[in-house]
Symmetry: D3
Subunit: 320 residues, 6 copies
């Protein structure tokens, strides 16, 4: 794991060497017709603009978004915002021993532990058709994407392994619900939980930045997952049409309301449980992460949170 000072810790005028990840790269021209290289770079904590005025031509021809680079730079500012002036730049090579995950936030939970938990859950599915479906969908390559992808761009679990962490939380709430209501179809509910956000593996990129793919914007993760279930269940002999429709229904309805982009609303007890388990996991993660990261000055409140439609209260700690 890369050890270097965060770009938030440098001061105006500092000169240093840093490994950074390119999130945008473009050649531009000043109003006075001078060409320069404009970049957006990130380390694990933040993003910063950068300019390179000389000697960038060769580099610019081959470098692209998603490359890790080593820069020799100076901290400057432009219109009151910090920016880097780059003297020298090169793409990182194997001997630099850095990887993308040195530049992107990652779940605090241990990945091996989460993987084991997830495998255990799949193991416990008793309906053989459902279990087989999960195994067919999750080939090695898909599993790797699914275990890595964040659950979203910015709101909740928006870090590497975030979808996995989120899914495991949902399953905990679903299991509590099944303990209370044994009449729920546990296998169906667990599989619905595993697959509900599966489409995010194609909806999001997380190589250099967390962002939406064109396919994600045009189709959305909900329908992507439905199409995959349809496709893979057809390969399983004896997979009941009725069961397939229920599973697709759980995935389609898991955002709970049409205006939240679900094309059908929950029409089964398992579907309504899945919707609320998803909400519970998403909102508690989101609110707690705002509390941790976004206090407004030294007040008892965070900054205004658009998706919560409020600032969040942080009680003074001296309470007993």
């Amino acid at each position: 794991m890369l050890k270097q000072k965060s770009i938030l810790e440098f001061s105006f005028g500092d000169e240093t060497h840093l490994f950074l990840l390119i999130t945008k790269i473009e050649k531009k021209t000043t109003k006075t017709n001078k060409e320069f290289l404009s970049l957006e770079l990130r380390d694990i904590s933040a993003t910063i603009s950068a300019k390179m005025w000389e000697g960038f031509e060769v580099f610019a021809n081959s470098a692209k978004e998603g490359n890790i680079v080593k820069v020799d730079c100076k901290f400057d500012e432009f219109n009151g915002t910090p920016q880097l002036i780059i003297n020298r730049i090169r793409v990182a090579n194997q001997s630099d021993n850095v990887s993308h995950s040195d530049f992107l936030p990652r779940s605090q939970r241990n990945l091996d532990e989460m993987t084991k938990e997830w495998n255990q859950i799949v193991e416990e599915i008793t309906n053989k058709h459902l279990k087989l479906l999960i195994q067919k969908i999750f080939d090695e390559q898909t599993k790797e994407k699914y275990f890595n992808v964040p659950a979203g761009k910015a709101w909740h679990h928006s870090y590497l392994n975030g979808l996995l962490e989120h899914t495991l939380e949902i399953i905990k709430f679903c299991k509590t619900a099944c303990d209370i209501h044994p009449e729920l179809n546990r296998d169906l509910l667990i599989c619905g939980a595993i697959l509900h956000d599966f489409g995010k593996t194609e909806e999001l990129t997380y190589e250099s930045n967390f962002d939406y793919t064109d396919k994600g914007k045009l189709i959305g993760h909900i329908v992507i997952a439905a199409m995959r279930i349809e496709e893979k269940s057809k390969e399983i002999s004896g997979f009941s049409e009725t069961l397939k429709n229920q599973l697709i229904h759980l995935v389609l309805s898991h955002q709970g309301k049409l205006e939240f982009a679900s094309p059908v609303i929950p029409k089964m007890p398992e579907a309504i449980v899945l919707y609320h388990a998803d909400e519970m996991s998403a909102k508690s993660n989101a609110y707690l992460s705002v509390v941790k990261n976004d206090r407004q000055g030294n007040s008892n409140w965070t900054n205004f949170v658009r998706l919560a439609e409020t600032a969040i209260y942080i009680p003074p700690t001296e309470e007993n």
Copy 2:
């Protein structure tokens, strides 16, 4: 085509023979424990309740919803509503020369003419991948369903061949739009129009009554169509992923807004054109059919139309 007096034209006390279609059938018991057969029957214009008190046991064991029957009956009433008392009943046989379409409303447009129009439209698609996709999706059996199914249960084009009539209208509006804006992708738009309500072939039944299937209620015609495009395009070598995503996008977004059950909103000029062409066809058909069929008494207005949120005005005809 069956020729018989409409059930709306009989009077209390009339006795007659009629061919009718069973839409519901159930054995029931009176409060005094007498068993009887309760049916709902329809001819092409209306639906009527019926009761049979004696000699129905053998018939009841084999008959089911969707059967055409010949009844020997008397017009009675119950709580102010007309009902039939059945003396004798039997399932129609081949020599009776009746078919389901004698009992279900049908488009006023000629089916052959519409079929020809539709074939012509497919013929004119210039993108070979798109044309091939349409041909693959529309095998003979699918085409038959698609040409027969109504466009909906009750609101617009809710009669046999209704989806076809509706689709042809949409395409007319889309062509007008392409004439105005040559930069629109005509092939994409036409294929989007052809497929936009394709899923209704699985969402609706129209054998004995127009109603929703379980699959229709759990998944909906929009996602059904998307899954079919995904499946069939994979069978076409060289079918571009980008093109497929656009076509699926047109289908998914054709209801225009999330709250109308589209999981994505229109994000392409072709998608917004398709949405408005669909609206234009649906609403003009719906309003005109209310005007034709639902005048309130002798007023200048129809009855209140829930989906229009108003009654519709019928101007006095003496105007010049």
Copy 3:
């Protein structure tokens, strides 16, 4: 516990003796100026209208809503709806050995077990001020009401002991959330859960029918609970103002949105968890109880559920 045939099981013309609970009672006059006694009566499964034409004067002067009566009656019908014709009626006495709970639905969970669970939860509160507050609010009389009252009039947990059952479910979900997120203030969250619907003890009556009190309609259970916390916390020396505000906030915001009658929206992680735990418990209970009790004919669907804005799907049982 009273053992008698349900009023749903009798047929037209049956004569019998029954214990029933009065939910409405009024003297009325026919159009021809004849006085009669009009009642609404219930047993544990249903409600029925009743008329008494003779000899009701003495009884009518003393009887009132909420009385248990023994009736000598005949099953009749009026406008197609069953009703009772009463020949003789008297208020039940002690030797009849019947009580209100023979006529009102009750949680399927064992009350003693639930009480023990609840006591255990209170026992585990570690903040001494919060624990003391709970103890002060729940004097014996209040506890009895709280343990008996339904959680609502009709939607979820709408039976005796329903509020208790509902609260215990919420706490289970809250505990799951605390296991996932140790940074949540567990004591605050548990006390919020215990008190969130406390006001229902004054908002609802459940003596003869489940209904709203005038106070319930004018003020609502949310503000009733807030006022009680304010009052009782003032009696506890050293109870921090900040803590009190947080607890009241959890109660006020637990319906999650202004349009659901919360005067403030959740502004703390604990508040958002409580809101979703409440939703999860309420909705899963409501959907499952519709599935159990409200199948539409022999279809795979329940009747339309207004609060769910849909019918609920009941999958055919032969699925594997």
Copy 4:
């Protein structure tokens, strides 16, 4: 037509002569009490701020918004935004041979052609009262305004002759609808289309900038048109009250919903057709113009479009 380099093509420091249109003009004082002239100027492609520090007194006394001026200027910048420093300025005179339309965007369609089309449409109206009404409303002066005015300030057809272009498109869709549904009142629908946005001739200014008039903001184009129809139809002997009410209804309801500022919703088939034809023309123009003019960087998307609530997708051109 004026030929000069666009103000978007100059660089910092360039000095030049330009004809520009004044969109705002005001004398201001710096914090150090120095007087200067502050202007906003436009050419056909963009708007730019300008300052003049010396020798503006005489000019400032007579010049006003809407004047075309010739400036001797230098390209400077202020807070990162380009601005002009003016050395000399004078109002353009006849010999300069420039006119307002050199500074305001204009429809791509040929005006003569559109005029002919419009005249033809009026010619084809068969109801003599309606035809006479159109002729009365469109005296020469009104016609000139109507043919020139944009259809809006910024969203769709927001250029000179825009209302005319928009109206002709709507009529095309209306005619398609009449072909499908001969029972529509074609004359009424065409006149409704012609007059639906007529009030924009008083709602908007387009002399120096496209903006709303006070009357436009206080009354709106919908009611302005209704008042004109009321006024002019009274001058036509035998113009039926019923027909007038229908025509006014079409104008009033053409925005389709109360929340879109129509004081009544469509209550006639012709009214619903007009509403959707208007939407079709407006939205397809708006989306296509965003695609043409507002790509975000080198991505496959335009910038976010507030009125569409999304960015618009621009498919990569290599698709076949």
Copy 5:
């Protein structure tokens, strides 16, 4: 004023003579092909259905909705609802000394007193153009309609003279506002109040029943009033365009929000005052009249009031 027993006070089987007003009249045929006359009749308190089986032919040829008739009838019932069986019927004549206002509810306030109050208010307008406009609009015939018409069909001030009573109340609130804020344009505000619902004189009929006219449904009272102001102000030399626009703005915006059918929202202090004064008068009248007339049984509540979205509380009178 007519003195006769209310139709609500008769019992089944009673025979009597009554003067009643025809609100609907139609010849119908029974299922057994017998012709009869079907009527809806009203006295001042209620409406009742009526049938006449014999000897109605001559009467039916001339009688129509809005006629006052004298009937020789018997109180019967049909499907549980009271109806009249008519033996003889004739149109009332002058010597019967009855008039429409004997059959329609009327304001409790004295009409002369209200007229005087209204005249006084007009007298006090100081702006001579505005005063002249009011005088021009209110010719004798118009004034009579305006003084008679109800303010609505059912919700508030829905009785003869209701619009006048409502307008006078609004003006009282406006005057209070002017006392608090002398900067308000009092003349403008008063004239806005006088004219805000003026269009109801054409939107509503109140001859035989309170109902909407076709014009009312197609155009609405708001635009009707605007058109009249436009027309009449043109006849006044020197009437400022700016002032006219403000007055029309007040009328157009007086329902406060687009979704309440105002085509513009209030954009002046006077407009916002008028909107709230209108609401205050309408809602207090509506709520108090429900309290007076619509108690639910012997509860402390009225029946549910759809437009208030609640039942209204009627406190027990023993309170001090």
Copy 6:
């Protein structure tokens, strides 16, 4: 009362002495690690940023938000916004003869006059329990807060004594309503008006700035007032439960709709009157104050007003 030039009247470079109120104070560090004192200061008309670079250590240790200070300063600017550079600063002392109200806006109405009016209103309450309740709630300290507090942070009556001015206006409208409708419970309505915004005394701070307290954000003024009424009415022997519930209902419902944060909607005529009287006072004050203070340039319009969803029209004054 303090007499000094407004901070809006100084120019860049001016040096002066001023008394100002601290609204924010914080030590900060430049990017080059230099410590400085950052302040936000206000006089009665505006707020300004300030920096002090030297000699602030002692002062910074004791000074805090809400202090009045005397500063020796120079008018500078930063990023185009004026700011002060402070040379010397000290906390004001008694001999300076300045007070907070020299720095915060205040109602234009005379406080003594308003106090007298308020006392008179309380005097006129005839229900002895209600009058006693008002007297108990308004002890001297509470009365002082209530008379001083603004009615809000920014929208209407947002100045010292604003709540009092607002309350007196509401009562005027309520009295007009009582004159029209003598059946309204005048005492209840007046007390509801007095107490409706009472909670703002705890919801808002107004010492140095108008802002929300933590309690205000977590609980809100509506519930704060309800809790106080509950508490104080319990101290009054014989205070009827029914009356108390009504009074609390008026307070809780006075914002009229759930989405405006009232936990119950108005369910009494008095409640609906109070809601509309509150709206009338708030909106007329807000619109008129925008007209007075926020004209956009030299146009006939104010700037856009977010809460009114429009700009407000200011008619040209030459109208007659």
